[in-house]
């Protein structure tokens, strides 16, 4: 008898039974009868599942195959067999509150000789993210099931030669009573709501979350709405800015109870100080607005029009005798300064890439910010405008500052001479909101 360990990278959800008009096991089988595994379920003897356990942890949802990052067996599958087709089989399991959930598995299998392991992603999180099984996106929280399974003596050869069949042979286990014996989702909603920060960093293996179920149920967070179709995602957490992000006081946005209202205020404020080009992106539980790359002076004030909006950063100077003499008889090197402002409205505490929040420390360049401006949409989608702001929602001002040296490409600077707030003061935005 050989034990198999199966790691399934999984995602997401089609729907939960509670939400999907009472779809039951029969519904699952029916749905799946048209799939590639139809007719093979009878090969498995459910009685050979001897034990099961489960852990939960977070992985970056923006990764197509999050667990690939931490599981070499998955890579093995990925490299050798490619990605199994969506909907290869479905997993029926108990979700929080004991509700059964239907998930579409899109991941890959690992392989080991002594156990079987299955990973899937919480449908609740997937729902919150608005993940569509067909678009290949993934959720944040991962549940990992570890099953000891017997009677798969020929699995290794099937795994190597007939991967599709191997997938299919796991099906019966997914509806076994053993699964129900696992009880409700690990940690219940407390686990769903607590994503380990470290797990946001795709390069850090996600830590395990204790599998004990809390005695006192915790009320789940109100579900946030998925991003509308076509609403592009902004890199999250956002790449390291030039200065610390500035949290705009909530008093700046009186009576703003929805994303739409706060967007209107931001939009009006930005336009009033000359930022007419804006690009909108989706961020968790909110949105981001990117302004156009603008040329600024050393003191962070904007250059006068039309120097303010060059197609590319360049060196500009207001000529005077003192300027001329300084450049002739000192070692001063003229530099062009530019910046891009990004406003982020979110309830996520981790806005910026950091050691704590994780994320990739990519340097932002001029091309990147130009792509940001071109890549977003022109306004906040109507379907997001009526989303209520929670207490934890905040408006963050983020600055990416650049220097253009002579005979060189612009590069991002960090902590040059100004605090973040000074940029917004000099741009006139802070004053606009203060004066309202």
């Amino acid at each position: 008898m050989q034990w198999m360990r199966i790691t399934v990278l999984a995602c997401v959800v089609a729907w939960s039974f509670a939400m999907a008009e009472g779809l039951d096991g029969a519904g699952w089988l029916h749905r799946h009868a048209d799939g590639p595994s139809a007719g093979i379920a009878s090969l498995i003897d459910p009685s050979l599942v001897t034990s099961a356990s489960r852990t939960s942890y977070g992985v970056p949802y923006e990764l197509a195959f999050p667990v690939c990052e931490v599981n070499h067996e998955s890579r093995y599958w990925d490299e050798n067999f490619g990605i199994p087709p969506l909907g290869t089989w479905l997993l029926v399991r108990s979700a929080e509150s004991g509700l059964s959930t239907l998930c579409t598995v899109v991941g890959t299998f690992g392989f080991a000789a002594d156990e079987a392991r299955l990973v899937n992603i919480s449908p609740r999180v997937a729902d919150a993210l608005g993940v569509d099984p067909d678009d290949g996106l993934f959720g944040i929280l991962v549940e990992e099931y570890l099953w000891n399974v017997g009677s798969l003596a020929d699995t290794r050869s099937m795994f190597l030669e007939q991967p599709q069949a191997y997938f299919s042979r796991m099906e019966p286990y997914l509806s076994l009573p053993n699964l129900e014996s696992l009880g409700p989702a690990v940690g219940g909603s407390a686990v769903w709501g607590a994503i380990p920060d470290q797990a946001r960093d795709r390069h850090v293996p996600p830590p395990s979350v204790p599998t004990s179920v809390p005695d006192t149920p915790v009320a789940p967070d109100p579900p946030s709405r998925p991003p509308p179709d076509g609403f592009p995602h902004f890199p999250w957490p956002v790449p390291p800015p030039s200065v610390r992000p500035v949290e705009f006081p909530r008093e700046f946005f009186p009576e703003a109870h929805t994303l739409g209202r706060i967007d209107a205020m931001l939009h009006e404020g930005l336009r009033s100080v000359g930022y007419f080009d804006q690009s909108y992106y989706y961020v968790p539980s909110g949105f981001a607005v990117v302004t156009r790359l603008e040329q600024i002076n050393r003191d962070a004030t904007p250059k006068p029009e039309p120097e303010r909006w060059p197609p590319a950063l360049r060196i500009t100077h207001r000529w005077s005798l003192s300027t001329y003499l300084r450049l002739l008889f000192t070692d001063e090197v003229p530099v062009g300064y530019g910046r891009v402002l990004v406003f982020v409205v979110t309830d996520d505490d981790c806005v910026v890439v950091s050691d704590v929040c994780g994320g990739e420390r990519t340097e932002v360049d001029q091309e990147t910010v130009n792509v940001w401006l071109e890549g977003g949409i022109g306004r906040l989608p109507m379907s997001m405008a009526d989303i209520e702001l929670g207490d934890s929602h905040a408006v963050w001002g983020i600055v990416y500052e650049f220097e253009k040296p002579p005979a060189g490409e612009p590069y991002q600077t960090f902590n040059r001479e100004h605090q973040g707030q000074n940029h917004f003061i000099q741009a006139g935005i802070w004053g606009y909101f203060e004066a309202r």
Binding site: H317, Y324, L327, L328, F329, T330, V333, P334, P406
Partner: protein, 144 residues
């Protein structure tokens, strides 16, 4: 044909060269002192010296030789003298303008000082060649 005295006209031609070289020297000295060329000030001097030193050497030796004559009755065609003088002034003015244009090169052309000076060599070389040509012609046409 109008003529001018060789010694007197040679002295006048030396003015732009001495004056221009002194002005350029002062500019470069000040710039080197404040670090305009960073640590590459030697390269700046290497750029400047070949543009003035050879001609000044020729002019100086000619003036010394003329001064050692008891009487120098040589004359030169006025037109040739004027052309040599004009070419000399043009050259030294252009040479010093190149140094004075460093701030504009930094801002408008985004060229560092040495990069700019070396880039200007091609055009300066043309002016230098014209000036030297007229000075040589001036010497050759001096009648005893």
């Amino acid at each position: 044909m109008a003529v001018v005295g060789f010694r007197r006209s040679m002295t006048k031609i030396s003015y732009p060269w001495y004056g221009g070289a002194l002005f350029g020297f002062a500019l470069l000295f000040a710039q080197s002192f404040v670090g305009r060329f960073d640590t590459n000030f030697v390269e700046a001097w290497n750029w400047f010296a070949p543009h003035v030193v050879p001609t000044i050497g020729i002019i100086t030796s000619a003036l010394i030789a003329a001064s050692q004559r008891k009487s120098d009755e040589r004359t030169v065609d006025t037109a040739i003298y004027r052309l040599a003088l004009l070419a000399s002034w043009t050259y030294v003015v252009f040479l010093n303008l190149t140094i004075l244009a460093i701030p504009f090169a930094l801002v408008n052309l985004e060229m560092y000082p040495l990069e700019w000076l070396q880039g200007a060599n091609a055009i300066i070389g043309v002016f230098q060649g014209i000036a030297l040509g007229f000075i040589g012609f001036f010497y050759g046409k001096a009648d005893a």
